[in-house]
Amino acid sequence: MSNPFLSVRDLTVDFHTEDGVVHAVDGLSFDVEKGTTLGIVGESGSGKSVTNLSVLGLHNPETTKISGEIHLDGQELIGASRSTMEKLRGNKVAMIFQDPLTSLSPYHTIGRQIGEVYRKHTGASKAEAKARAVEMLTRVGIPQPKIRVDDYPHQFSGGMRQRAMIAMALVCDPDLLIADEPTTALDVTVQAQILDLLKELQDQTGASIIMITHDLGVVASTAHNVLVMYAGRAVERGTVKEVLGEPRHPYTWGLLASMPRLTASVDVPLTPVRGTPPSLINLPSGCPFHPRCDYVNLAGPELCRGERPELSPHRGHGDACYLTLAQKREIHQ
């Protein structure tokens, strides 16, 4: 595949704050192929949400400095004009936010909010937009859509609101859907419903999805490919099978080992990652993970503290770590 649907190259996002420059994203590259789901995993402050806000052009231009390249279906998005971005947003690219209550306007009916996007991009009439809203609510499984379309967000439960958000995101049949922690605020049984729904809709429409989450379980059940982020950089990339089955980066090991599982033995204590994530204003030298890593001495302290490791190899299952492949395999066993 020579032309991925979305291709991000060397993306750097800096915020200017009173305390200094925050390096939120620092040289990130990834691709999303058509019809596939990329899971972006990382902890708070790893830059996963910021990356996707820049794809949508939703950053504040006065305080944010972005460089690099973002190609969506061949079109360069960095430096694109406001009107170009407005035509893309909601139409070709759409987003689902974490908290469906704060992302919906309490003053407008669900139907109007879904219809607004449709009218803006297609110039449809009010009646057409409403009919479309009913159709979308039916597709995302809201019971009695003809009645519920006139409800306000507070009349919906959490899971229904998230379904309404999905309906709104899909109303113009976008080619790329960015879901930022779409199920974090929901209960497990509802989370399972929403994840199934997203998969189902992807099968129907062939859209690409970027699934941002901190939960490796969500990634395992929905994504095709995974990108693990740490301190604004990608530390591991590959298919779900590669990254979860044979993880290579010490941070990925740490994440997996610190998660309790339903099937694991309960007598073994969890092995958390030491310490806390670094400040993005003052990043550690070299590999940003080295202050928390157990294998610095094995890989060579000068290497780890000296220069930042690149994600290698460039294609397929890659990771940014100085340990040799043999060492990684042995440690993971």
Partner: protein, 344 residues
């Protein structure tokens, strides 16, 4: 069996719902907790799981007596505390401590760490040998923080460190029971494990009993010896960890377990049960079995007769289930999908 440290029976908490513009009339009540029986033995952990709105946090607050129940009894260490006065509660408050979910809003931003952790000792007039400051520094060390941070303010700490401050505060009076309400759900994955390990260590070293409230079934399984599953203010299933997780008998427990996404690549063997819809309103809970509106096994009997919480044939001692048509002990049936959006 010795007498349990905590024995709750028939516990009820109904919050009034008022309506009307001028005269606030009571128009209904939220059945937050509606007839709950549970026990916690000295030094053990009882995990309490359920979805939001099932009453698990209210239960925690009732046990810590931050709320007064509208019915039922709470016996702590042989004493009835359900309606005890403030004065009678004071010595008991020292023994039952609480850890809260949000490490940001549960610490006073204007107080130093020393004041926050020393606060409970000051209120209770406790003067440990060597002074309070020495004790606070010891506690900081126990929870894995630097004792030199005594004079710092909460905003100087990360979320995980703040939660450790909350743990140190709960430990300051040497409690026998800690009610931990979602103590790790606001933390990042790698930090969650640090705090879970700390709590386990403390339990081993000090023999503290925990009522561990969480919605994350994997964390609860890791931390609790016994687990209770709540649905709409009632316990639907309770039992020791191995029995409950390996052989769930209540359809709701089964559905909850099957909904947890696992971070592994070979997940083909697991069953999928997808519940439709949401939890009904606790203002007007369904008659009979409260789960019947989402249950795929529900029959007429479920609407008329409330199933008692009993030990079913084939279950271990202490594993109780409230269901008329329980699951077989070893069921590996077909996928159950009840979500209308997925049936096409």
């Amino acid at each position: 069996m010795s007498e349990p440290l905590l024995e709750v029976s028939g516990l009820e908490k109904h919050f009034p719902v008022t309506g009307g513009l001028l005269f606030k009339r009571q128009v209904g009540k939220v059945h937050a907790v509606d007839g709950l029986d549970l026990t916690v033995q000295t030094g053990e952990t009882l995990g309490l799981v359920g979805e939001s709105g099932c009453g698990k946090s209210t239960t925690g607050r009732l046990v810590a007596r931050l709320l007064e129940p509208t019915g039922g009894s709470i016996r702590y260490d042989g004493r009835e505390i359900a309606h005890a006065s403030r004065k009678d509660l004071k010595p008991i408050r020292a023994e039952i401590q609480m850890i809260f979910q949000d490490p940001y809003s549960s610490l006073n931003p204007r107080h130093t760490v020393g004041t926050i952790i020393g606060g409970p000792m000051e209120i209770n007039g406790i003067n440990p040998p060597g002074g309070r400051e020495k004790r606070v520094k010891e506690l900081l060390e126990i929870v894995g923080l630097n004792p030199e941070h005594y004079n710092r303010f909460p905003h100087e700490f990360s979320g995980g460190q703040r939660q450790r401050i909350g743990v140190a505060r709960a430990l300051s009076l040497s409690p026998k029971l800690i009610v931990a309400d979602e103590p790790v759900s606001a933390l990042d994955v790698s930090i969650q494990a640090q705090v879970v390990n700390l709590l386990q260590q403390l339990q081993r070293d000090m023999g503290i009993a925990f009522l561990f409230i969480a919605h994350d079934l994997a964390i609860v399984r890791h931390f609790s010896q016994r687990v209770a599953v709540m649905y709409l203010g009632k316990i639907v299933e309770i039992g020791d960890r191995a029995s409950l997780y390996e052989r769930p008998r209540h359809p709701y427990t089964h559905a909850l377990l099957s909904a947890v996404p696992e971070a592994s690549v070979e997940s083909g063997s697991r069953e999928r049960i997808r519940l439709a819809g949401d939890v009904p309103s606790p203002i007007d809970p369904p008659s009979g079995c409260r789960f019947r509106t989402r249950c795929w096994k529900a029959q007429d009997k479920c609407a008329t007769e409330e199933p008692p919480l009993v030990r079913l044939g084939g279950n271990r001692e202490g594993h109780l289930t409230a269901c008329h048509f329980p699951e077989e002990p070893t069921v590996h049936g077909e996928d159950v999908v009840l979500d209308p959006a997925l049936l096409g």
